[in-house]
């Protein structure tokens, strides 16, 4: 008979957490009045919010169970999947981010449409919608299974409960709710994971110490090069470090929207840098730590030697935590799921509205119409996700099929995006055939795995599934390059701002004028509402403030609440108008009624003003 873990106090803590998150998320409904706010949060957030909230998206519902399991079985090399994104960081920060930020695209398919042609956009839309909605279902299913194992809740109803909670706040608050709840959930995840690891180390002092109890072979950060087939270095490198990392950072619609929600491109870059250099390392310890502690507990004779990898995290947590604290760990598990599902729902809604509804069904309608459709699409995405749970439960082949589909689409999409944003010569036909031809060749490799032999790097045949990503990247890359060389290059005007070395043109289009990149400082001023009849989108500051910011008339400024921890909730972008001439107002920033409402400012409010470019 299945053993149910936890006490009523644990369940109370977990339910309390759900209620808190929903209340917190729905609070942000007041900040969501337009589709731009629903999908991009009004592009107002500082780097640290973007960076932390990404951690919650990165850590999926399965992460604690999966990586703790790998950590228990193989030791520190469980971190291989996480801490290897540094290799792609330059391309992400300096090729991909400027292109999407300045071209104002709302979705990956929209980028494919602008950079290539409508049929590539259609292929991208179909792929992404199947991927996103199927992935919602998979996340709900895996959490349902986890909660069923832990506290005996039926898989389906556990999934329904989580989906309902997440949908409520996504529908209400859109991207703003997603970002703020993910920020909170990131802290919960990290505190629970790191807390368990550190608590375990302290506890094990009385049993000889963690380091002595942890097997020597587990202390390597990398696994053996190509053995065993189930877990080896080179397979994980190509699957996770290269294919999945590129997929996460470049083709994940939710991540793209997250980085576009930053107040400036500079903040997007800072968010990515901090995330990869600092937070991912912390997240990898948080997700694997439970498994490492479980291994030491087994060595100390405190947990049975028969403990399996899948049980490692939960058993270690249950052993170490008092009632109530275990509930907090359960909350962290659900936080990992909700923060992934909310991002996926918002992302699927963006693709549906932007790439299906707006271009094909209702072309010209007021923004409030599209906002309504976006909210309905979120609900529909959640319903489809829930409907997939019993299907995944009943037909394991469908669950596996979605996994195979994801593995199949990832390399061609990654190649199309990387070549698209870095190579001017790369053509529309090449992109289309990269996607289609790459997917066909990936499917063929599932049927005839002998195709993977040249890429196997010595891995035994039963582990070749790891290396399929390398095969996919190579064949898709070859298709892309060969078709490009035999087709006419795109016109220079068509790719302006959409590819590396045309970013400056993108910047000029974004601003509507030459960028001013002189480095200035922030000015601290107070809001004064005035009548600005000529143009409502401008703010005016004193000549001294203009000089401090190194700003000129017409430059793009960002005005935000002085309190940094408000995270840009009270903020707006505006153009710098002519400097103020009234000396008594030199400590003020003149703001129109429209901007007062958009930025949610109050008369006399202390604000920071900075030049963006």
């Amino acid at each position: 008979m299945q053993e149910i873990l936890g006490t009523p106090l644990d369940y109370t803590v977990m339910i309390g957490y759900f209620v808190l998150i929903v209340a917190f998320g729905t609070f942000f409904a007041r900040y969501t009045k337009t589709t731009k706010e629903f999908f991009l949060g009004g592009q107002r957030f500082p780097w640290w919010i973007i960076s932390f909230s990404c951690v919650a998206t990165l850590v999926g519902s399965y992460s604690f169970i999966k990586y703790a399991s790998v950590g228990y079985l193989y030791g520190f090399s469980s971190t291989m999947s996480y801490i290897n994104d540094i290799f792609l960081l330059p391309i992400f920060m300096f090729c991909w981010l400027p292109v999407i930020y300045f071209s104002r695209v709302l979705s990956i398919p929209e980028y494919l449409g602008k950079r290539f042609d409508p049929r590539t956009r259609v292929v991208g839309t179909i792929i992404l919608i199947i991927y996103l909605v199927g992935y919602v279902g998979i996340n709900l299913y895996t959490l349902g299974v986890a909660l069923h194992t832990l506290i005996g809740l039926p898989v389906f109803w556990a999934a329904v409960a989580v989906a309902v909670f997440a949908t409520i706040y996504v529908v209400a608050g859109g991207q703003t709710a997603v970002i703020w709840t993910d920020l909170l959930q990131a802290f919960i995840l990290l505190i629970a994971g790191i807390g368990l690891f550190v608590g375990g180390i302290f506890f094990l002092r009385h049993y000889g110490g963690f380091w002595n109890l942890f097997p020597t072979g587990h202390k390597y950060a990398m696994a053996y090069f190509n053995k065993p087939p189930s877990f080896n270095f080179v397979g994980v490198f190509w699957q996770d470090a290269i294919a999945n990392s590129f997929a996460f950072w470049l083709m994940n619609q939710g991540i793209m929207m997250r980085f576009m929600s930053a107040k400036s491109l500079h903040d997007s870059r800072k968010a990515a840098l901090f995330n990869i250099l600092v937070l991912i390392i912390v997240a990898s310890v948080a997700t694997s730590g439970g498994g490492w502690i479980a291994r030491a507990l087994v060595s100390a004779g405190l947990l049975p030697k028969t403990l399996t990898g899948k049980e490692a995290f939960v058993r270690a947590a249950y052993f170490l935590c008092r009632p109530g604290v275990f509930g907090f760990v359960l909350a962290a598990l659900t936080a990992a799921l909700m923060s992934t599902v909310d991002t996926l729902l918002n992302a699927a809604s963006a693709v549906f509205v932007n790439d299906v509804w707006r271009p094909h069904i209702v072309k010209k309608a007021p923004d409030r119409h599209y906002l309504k459709v976006a909210r309905i699409a979120c609900i529909a995405g959640a319903i489809i996700g829930i409907a997939l749970v019993p299907i995944y439960m009943r037909f394991k082949t469908i669950y596996a099929a979605h996994g195979a589909f994801t593995a199949t689409i990832t390399p061609p999409m990654v190649v199309a995006i990387v070549l698209g944003c870095t190579w001017k010569r790369y053509t529309s036909k090449a992109a289309f055939w990269t996607l289609l031809g790459g997917m066909i060749l990936m499917f063929i490799s599932i049927k005839y795995d002998i195709l993977l032999a040249p890429f196997s790097c010595g891995i035994p045949r039963s582990g070749w599934f790891f290396i399929r990503a390398l095969y996919g990247l190579v064949v898709s890359g070859v298709i892309g390059v060969v078709v490009t060389l035999f087709t006419t290059p795109p016109l220079k005007e068509k790719i302006s701002g959409l590819v590396w070395r045309t970013e400056r043109e993108g910047m000029i289009k974004f601003k509507g004028a030459e960028p001013n990149e002189r480095e200035g400082k922030q000015a601290v001023l107070r809001i004064k509402q005035v009548e600005l009849s000529d143009e409502e989108d401008i703010v005016r500051v004193s000549p001294k403030a203009m000089e401090l910011m190194q700003a000129n008339t017409g430059d793009m400024l960002y005005v935000t609440d002085y309190r940094w921890w408000m995270g840009g909730l009270h903020s707006t972008h505006a153009k710098a108008g002519d400097p103020i001439t009234e000396e008594e107002d030199f400590d003020k920033v003149y703001v129109s009624k429209v901007l007062m409402d958009r930025g949610r400012f109050k008369e006399g409010m202390k604000v920071r003003v900075e030049k963006i470019f």
Partner: protein, 68 residues
Amino acid sequence: MPTPTISSLLYPYIVGGVLFVIGMILVFKSDVVDLKLRRYRIMVIWLIAGYFIYLAIHSFFFFVAPRL
């Protein structure tokens, strides 16, 4: 599980290193990155430092940690 060999440490920093260097070349040749500006300079320094920080962490857990 067999004890890892040096190839597990070198492979990512050579193969991934090639990718990283290509990325850095794209950064240096970009038409918006002006290294005279402090904000770009700091980012580029952190990017390069990041590569070596990761290499140092992995080297520590390859050469030192298992022998402690």
